[in-house]
Symmetry: C2
Subunit: 650 residues, 2 copies
């Protein structure tokens, strides 16, 4: 799930990347002879293009793509029929883990099923989303939220039976993904209804995010587990095409139960230095994010060399690659890294407060708590990809007198464990939920990871105060407030994009529930928002408006579900126009809370509200913010439209 | 989970109920001789009081209480030490299923751990909540939401180890509860960390809600499953005290892994006609709700007779029961049953639309779809207690061309499957989510079942329109609108309390997104709400206000997350005061959406907002509504306060 590269990019003039052009695939696909040999070449050609796509995009999951490449290459070219087409009897394939999407895209492009030009558009608006989406041809279902795939296959199989359609349904899962309870929730009904048309492939590469599955939450005897749930089980080498072929040939004879192929694979398979953990290393370095140019070139060289060696052995001419531009990433100069500042402050407090315990769901580095694990390993609990378990376990820890600080991405923590956060709240113990990767950007991973409805999802949990800091300083104040000042529970929402901030909170700033602070002042309009993305946009808008003679106040209101009506009356009552910003859906974001408070407080300013109104776009950060009206120029235009023509409702 | 009795009650003058007084328990507990014989008497005495409590309350779960009574009686009196006290080395016991709370309460009262007077106060405000809550002495954790117990035990065990405390932690689960994925999500970490202090007891009574577990979603070989997850397994008769004793004696020798006792039990054990399914019957009749007086008296007679026979054999004098008042339930005269009307309309449409498929998570009768299953069984999918699986499977069905209509209680559907509803929404297929038991009443089950944050939880799912009907007619319009007029997905929110409605929607009423309809008119105040509970309260308030010369308009606004700003301007703009009502938390209910729309639309009326601000109270419906300011008199008082003294924010 990890998402590490958040920077936008431009393209360099010189072409340093390389990719396999379409005619090569057409030639290799129609090569006569041993299909096993052909598949080996085809798979490595796909790996070359997977690497290209990820380098071009600046992010994407190499390790998981490479461990699954051989399997999908074989299935799509040799086993399945009319896969994911609408033809009668067509088979269905999809990946439940979803972050291996670049491998599948590369294969679909190689097979001519996707427009070749999309090779250059991974994680761009109107390109290929970071995780699979049904708006892309030949993508069967939306994934990226783990553990849902077998349930979806169950639904598809039942729909096929309703319609009298046939066809096999193959679902790829990760091995870390098996930690999700829904996997086991879904196995039993599939077996009970004897849906023999469903086959699961477990891409058992032994690594999840950055660590070994066995170190995070060991799976025990996987085969016994599946058998106990009534499934037919085969295990084999997921990089041995004959093993894949034989497993599926066996499965074709099974008519009374679903089947699972536990594929022993190697994360990063195909490039020697990307394969698994390096000797003595506990961290895998190619889970998410683009490699260095040096690593990229070495990997491409190794893959191309093997392809051409194999082609030569088959009596075929070598492959030549086309060249593509190397994106140049424009990095912020002195970016604030809120999550790291938060983690640092948390660690400092934990050193003197032995009741603090930190919990994680396999997103350690994205949650700023690597240093905590290093310094206080005895008070660090790695739960694996098991958000429900983690949050309920936090409840048990709190009942036992500890203060748990629970970490995951906002999109998962606020939704997967939604009932569990509520259940804990009813016990009135103190728990801190730290939710990172919040908001519409980074825009690359796609809507499964863009958390733009978490304020709504947890906003009405009784006693739970939601807060989003806008700077490193406010991040430190936030965790200190949550631990020292707030008797109840806190939801800390963090944007992970490192940004150069044009503002700073006042030196004498202290947190008061429901009340904001002005970052700059101007009498014509108050722009109210939270977090670094919105407030940077608001600041840029204020600069643009100043050029038009409009003076804007920019207000940091970090309280997401608590608004002080008196503060609204006293502060917002002074403006003719109030613009609320949400890095979230308009429905049930902070903006409606502010506007409702204005109505209650008798503040009669004109009100405009900016936020998302549809599924977030996937693409470069600047593009995504502009698309949703949340960048500086868009915010300025909204203000100008209102200043020049006050709203009447349509 | 089923909750069937929603009516309020008064007490009759004559005493027809009977209960075991405290001195009897004190005598039996100190009876010399065979502890097995003593436990048998004690358990049946507890069953007598469990029955009394449920009759007095008018609702509660007999079957599940009785199947677990023998186990908890033995554990609390013979096996565990200082259970749930704060003493050093004390053991912990709690039930993860939670709806067997009456049995545990009866036992705690028998042991003198709870004030005896609480026997008369099940499901009353300031009494014993319908599901366990830590505000009650000797209750270790809040349950009622299934599947969380083992995770909570994990947290408690870790907290004990942090603090250097010892003590066993015993968790009771249901067998239907094993369908929840979180159970399996939690088993592995407990085994991996070798938390041998944790023991799970599965109350394997083979029945869930109204049906056989094997018919709903068969569990397969339970012992193999637990073993594959690394647990020490014993299976035995959960009504044989020696078997319970021996299992726990064995578990005390296991030091390297957690243990599970699969207790073969009988739902309703102890009363012949309540034990399991009657011959030829597929429905169990004593899951939830009070029995008839006739059944109550017969059950009490049978239990008392057995107790006294056993006492006589032990050379002990017989037990005499004390008498208690029989509550008289005041039933509505011609109540509207919205859920049944909905189910009827859905069935009528499904007969001509073969793409409609109905899904359920073990709450068939509470969701109005019994008739559907009867009439169109081939298009009915029972998923068991597996909300995540159900919703993701609905996604698969929708991708396959079906229109799934998905059912559960609002508290579970909106939260347990929260991420799954969002994932489906991103595929832009059409799914209908029907969420029943919404709102603060019935107040008996307690906060795990009182769904007062679901509007918030799902309100920002893109494209998902949330709607709550206020009458049978509007319920029929709603499902027809969702199926015929709405291209996207719909969340239908239903109150389950049958009420005599003082209003009716106009004969020419049609649904228009975001726009309400006046049920009665008056110029002084607009009271805006949704659903039968709020609008009945608003109507009663309007009657009370009329006596004070204040004329109120009552507006039914069934759209929960879509408000038409122009309608707000045109309609609400005419009033000096607008009062919004929420059968939901104030934060992120409909009220803030209405108030925000007023601010955007330039409507400058005074605004008052009524809704919940804390965890909902557990008790009789009228008491709960009054407690939260949502009954007629409370609403009238709110209006009067504003009319006489317009608000200024504090």
């Amino acid at each position: 799930m990890g998402e590490k590269d958040f920077s936008d990019r431009t393209l360099a003039a010189d072409a340093a990347l390389s990719f396999v052009p379409l005619p090569v695939f057409e030639r290799v696909r129609h090569m006569p002879g041993d299909p096993l040999a052909r598949a080996a070449v085809l798979a490595d050609l796909c790996r070359l293009n997977t690497l290209y796509m990820i380098m071009r995009a600046g992010s994407g999951h190499i390790g998981s793509s490479f461990s699954s490449t051989d399997i999908i290459t074989w299935l799509w070219t040799e086993t399945l029929t009319a896969t994911n087409s609408r033809a009668a009897g067509s088979d269905v394939y999809f990946s439940s883990k979803g972050h291996d999407a670049p491998a599948l895209y590369a294969l679909l492009i190689a097979l001519g099923k996707l427009d070749f030009d999309l090779l250059h558009k991974l994680r761009q608006i109107d390109g290929l989303p970071g995780h699979p989406d049904v708006s892309t041809p030949f993508i069967a279902t939306n994934t990226g939220s783990l553990g849902m795939g077998i349930s979806k296959a169950y639904g598809m199989a039942r729909a096929n039976r309703f319609a009298g359609r046939t066809g096999r349904i193959v679902v790829m899962t990760g091995d870390g993904e098996l930690q999700e309870g829904q996997i086991w929730e879904s196995l039993q009904p599939v077996a009970n209804e004897r849906l023999a048309e469903i086959t699961v492939v477990v891409d058992h590469n032994k690594l999840q995010s950055d660590s070994a599955v066995a170190a995070v939450s060991d799976l025990g005897p996987i085969e016994d587990k599946f058998r106990a749930f009534g499934w037919e089980v085969r295990r084999g080498d997921g990089h041995d095409f004959a093993a894949i072929r034989d497993a599926f040939a066996h499965f074709a004879t099974v008519t009374d139960r679903p089947q699972v192929f536990i594929a022993d694979t190697i994360k990063g398979k195909g490039v020697s230095f990307m394969e698994g953990l390096a000797c003595g290393d506990q961290t895998y370095h190619f889970h998410a994010g683009a490699p260095s140019l040096e690593n990229y070139l070495a990997a491409t060289g190794e893959l191309l060399s093997r392809v051409n060696t194999r082609l030569e052995a088959l009596g075929q001419p070598p492959v030549e690659l086309d060249r593509g531009p190397l994106p140049v990433r424009t990095s912020p100069k002195a970016p604030e890294k809120l999550v790291l500042a938060y983690g640092d402050e948390l660690l400092a407090m934990a050193r003197t407060r032995p009741e603090i315990v930190v919990m994680d769901a396999d997103l350690l580095s994205d949650c700023g708590i690597e240093a905590f694990r290093e310094a206080l390993p005895e008070r660090f609990i790695e739960c694996g990809i098991a958000e429900q378990h983690m949050v309920s376990a936090a409840g048990g820890l709190a009942l036992g007198g500890m203060i748990p600080v629970v970490h995951s991405f906002a999109c998962f923590l606020s939704t997967r464990a939604n009932e569990h956060i509520y259940n804990n709240a009813t016990e009135r113990r103190k728990i801190i939920y730290t939710a990172t990767l919040a908001g519409a950007v980074p825009g690359g991973p796609g809507h499964s990871h863009q958390s733009v409805r978490d304020i709504s999802a947890i906003g009405a949990v009784p006693g739970l105060v939601a807060f989003e800091p806008c700077s490193e300083r406010e991040a430190r104040l936030a965790i200190r407030w949550a631990l020292e000042a707030n008797d109840a529970s806190t939801y800390l929402r963090f944007v992970n994009v490192p940004l150069d901030l044009p503002y700073r909170v006042p030196d004498d700033y202290t947190l008061e529930v429901g009340r904001g602070v002005a970052l700059r002042e101007g009498a014509d309009v108050a722009i109210v928002g939270y977090g670094p993305v919105l407030l940077t946009g608001a600041w840029q808008a204020a600069d643009l408006l100043a050029a038009d003679g409009i003076k804007a106040t920019v207000i940091d209101l970090p309280w997401l579900n608590r608004i002080d009506d008196a503060w609204v009356r006293d502060v917002l009552g002074a403006f003719p126009l109030v613009v609320t910003l949400d890095n979230h859906y308009l429905e049930f974001g902070q903006g409606v809370m502010v506007a409702a408070a204005m109505a209650r407080a008798g503040v009669h300013a004109d009100v405009a509200q900016v936020g998302l109104t549809d599924i977030p776009a996937c693409g470069a950060n600047a593009d995504v913010l502009a698309h949703h009206g949340l960048d500086g120029p868009s915010i300025a235009r909204t203000v100008l439209g209102r200043v020049r023509q006050p709203a009447t409702p349509k």
